[in-house]
């Protein structure tokens, strides 16, 4: 079912797990050496920079080669173009399977990723090109679904999994939206139910040893489903969707959705802490912010400045005293840095580094409303 060599995938997994133990000093150096030697994996998986470079050049190559073939074949009719796209997509997939993955030993090298994306994209364009403009979106989604799901299963690709998840959710919501009269009431619950189902599925799947290779894919699904579950019941989203789809000014059962908007983030956080589940906790924190913004969209209880001051003070004090508490009471929770940082934290770290390094001088003064200077040690606008 998986295109890549499973023994090597297993070896990678074992080595990754053992490396953490080794870093914590639970494994001696000799043992770690032996484990590495006994678990060889010969994948070609270059460094992330080389991967990005390879992906860019593979994309240019595939576009240019596709263009060349198109010039040679000269597909004139609509059908001709469809067939050409299908053909080109199949070529990409065959190259991926028969050349890059098996003899080439590529795994996450940029080349295999790009071939997969371009191949699937070309096939989908080929299948959908001949439809006319008023074809409902549902048709496109239903056609794309099997390819996206198969792609994420066979190639363990996380981006494909994201696409497949969005596609599935789209299909469900689209079908529910067509139910006469009840649609408005059912839509949020359909979103919640399907998200919850995906969440349970991915949580279950992550504990199964047989599904160990899909761990990354399932993790992405878990995060996404947590986000969509909250989004489905958020008052702002429900109200805006009602306005857009059904021209409804007021939301039925408004009390329920307000309750949902504020309760669910805290349930996420509470459960995240109780079960030591970092994803629940992090997304819960983000949802609190979303809840505050949703509330402020409808009720301006106080001026923005006071809101910022109060929120800031509350956040600061909470964090400060929690850190102090954790420093003094080591226990189940700690303030020590963990070596395993999750996907979200990695992104956040990147963002912080980016903004600190790239903050041009004038931006901070503009933000704080001091009117921005002509000058800026960090970066004037080149006007001298």
């Amino acid at each position: 079912m998986i295109a890549y060599n499973k023994d090597w995938l297993d070896a990678l997994l074992t080595k990754d797990t053992a490396r953490k133990w080794h870093e914590k000093g639970l494994l001696s150096d000799e043992k770690w050496q032996i484990i590495q030697e006994r678990h060889p994996s010969n994948f070609y998986s270059p460094n992330v920079f080389v991967r990005i470079g390879l992906a860019i050049f593979t994309l240019i190559l595939l576009m240019a080669a596709g263009g060349l073939v198109a010039i040679l074949v000269e597909p004139e009719s609509e059908l001709g173009f469809s067939i050409f796209c299908l053909f080109w997509g199949l070529v990409c997939m065959v190259v991926l399977e028969a050349r890059v993955i098996q003899p080439g030993r590529h795994f996450g090298s940029g080349i295999d990723d790009m071939l997969l994306y371009v191949g699937i994209w070309a096939i989908l364009v080929g299948l959908c090109y001949s439809f006319n403009y008023n074809t409902p979106a549902l048709v496109y989604l239903v056609i794309a679904w099997p390819f996206l799901v198969a792609g994420s299963i066979r190639y363990l690709d996380r981006l494909m999994a994201v696409a497949a998840f969005v596609c599935s959710l789209g299909i469900i919501l689209w079908v529910v939206k067509e139910i006469p009269r009840l649609a408005l009431y059912l839509l949020p619950f359909a979103g919640m139910l399907s998200s919850a189902a995906v969440y349970l599925f991915s949580k279950q799947g992550q504990t199964r040893y047989a599904w160990r290779h899909w761990h990354g894919v399932l993790l992405v699904l878990e995060l996404l489903s947590l986000v969509t579950f909250y989004t489905s019941g958020n008052f702002w989203v429900v109200q805006q969707a009602g306005l857009d789809f059904f021209q409804m000014e007021t939301v039925p059962m408004a009390w329920f959705f307000w309750l949902f908007t504020f309760l669910v983030p805290f349930i996420y956080i509470f459960e995240g802490l109780r079960r030591k589940d970092r994803h629940l906790l992090d997304i819960g924190l983000a949802c609190v912010a979303a809840a505050v913004f949703s509330f402020r969209y409808y009720y301006h209880v106080m001026p923005l400045t006071w809101a910022a001051v109060i929120c800031g003070a509350v956040l600061f004090l909470t964090a400060y005293f929690s850190i102090r508490y954790l420093h003094q009471n080591e226990g189940v929770y700690s303030y020590e840095e963990d070596s395993e940082i999750s996907l979200l934290q990695e992104i956040e770290q990147q963002l912080i580094e980016q903004t600190i390094v790239n903050q041009p001088g004038p931006t901070p003064d503009k933000k704080e409303g001091f009117g921005g200077g002509q000058f800026g040690g960090g970066g004037a606008s080149g006007d001298f």
């Binding site: 484990i35 390879l54 240019a64 929120c311 600061f316 700690s334 041009p360 000058f375 080149g382």
Partner: protein, 323 residues
């Protein structure tokens, strides 16, 4: 997922049973780290508090006046610098570990508030008049001095940015393309010069044994400024041959650097910039020959295949015996 792997390793006798017990105990008893969450909340809190208070004070501007605000910002900056100097570790030519948890951030905050204070001052009272050079020169000297004295790479980045501003260019890699007008020859020349200068500094500091770990920051700024300036020279100034030569030399230099220092980042970046330059040269110089679309498609296919072949064999290109 830990148990089955542990079990497998035990069966293969790659792990001693005592070790396995230790690991199992560690995995089950490991404390749940709230480090990132709390730190994020703390920063968000500080940011919001600052924004809110800043606006509040600004709304009262009629009552308190500009001078008071400038003094307030200056006071924040001064407190930050005082903290940074008070808790510093003794100077060393190598890397210094930051003394406290928040040390680096407080120092950065001090630098940023210093900039804001100076900018506000200039905006309101024009203390520097039109001598913008001086206005950027002061923070530049300050930041470089602080970066070397207190060993902080964030402040060094600010210093390099101030240097570039002082030389008449706005630099931070991503912002470079959007904020600059590359039509002026002076800016391009300055860029090439600055890029080359920043690239040379790490080699000097390695020779003198002074802050070797700053190399990456310098080189990162250096490669982007140098390459973008030469490309701008080719495209905007029209002196293609001259700047192409400079580009080839710098790409060659960074490939050499990547080869000897084992740096895949510089390898990929140099290849990317080189490819852009080469493609531009080809398109400009074959324009008059009317080769047609097909020729260029062939070029892209063949050249990309070549680059891919080169990049996939990077292990052979890069010397592995170097640390």
């Amino acid at each position: 997922m830990h148990e089955p792997i542990l079990h497998n390793l035990l069966q293969q006798e790659l792990i001693e049973p005592e070790d396995a017990e230790k690991i199992a105990l560690f995995v089950s008893k490991k404390p749940f780290s709230l480090h990132w969450e709390l730190k994020t909340l703390l920063y968000l809190g500080v940011l919001l508090l600052n924004l809110g208070l800043g606006f509040l004070i600004y709304e009262q501007i009629d009552i308190i006046g500009h001078a008071v605000i400038i003094v307030l910002i200056g006071a924040v900056s001064a407190v930050c610098f005082w903290y940074a100097i008070r808790y510093r570790k003794p100077f060393s030519r190598g890397e210094i570990k930051s003394p406290t948890h928040y040390y680096d951030y407080i120092l950065l905050l001090g630098c940023l508030t210093f900039l804001i204070m100076e900018g506000y001052w200039q905006f309101q009272y024009e203390i520097f008049g039109t001598r913008y050079g001086l206005a950027t020169f002061i923070p530049m000297v300050l930041f470089f001095a602080l970066a070397y004295w207190l060993d902080n790479r964030g402040v060094l980045s600010l210093g390099i940015t101030a240097l570039a501003t002082w030389l008449g260019i706005t630099v931070t890699p991503q912002a470079l393309l959007t904020q600059n007008d590359f039509n002026s020859g002076a800016i391009v020349h300055t860029g090439v010069f600055l890029g080359a200068f920043l690239t040379v500094i790490p080699f000097l500091s390695e020779r003198w044994g002074l802050k070797k770990h700053f190399s990456l920051t310098y080189l990162n700024f250096g490669i982007h400024i140098l390459m973008i300036s030469t490309l701008a020279g080719m495209m905007a100034l029209g002196q293609t041959m001259l700047y192409f030569l400079v580009l080839c030399l710098s790409v060659g230099f960074f490939l050499w650097y990547a080869r000897t220092r084992n740096s895949l980042y510089f390898l990929t970046v140099a290849v990317l910039y080189g490819y852009i330059g080469l493609t531009y040269m080809l398109i400009v110089h074959t324009e008059s020959l009317n080769f047609g679309f097909r020729f260029y498609l062939f070029y892209f296919v063949l050249s990309c295949a070549g680059v891919i072949l080169f990049l996939t064999n990077y292990k052979r290109f890069i010397k592995n015996d170097q640390p």
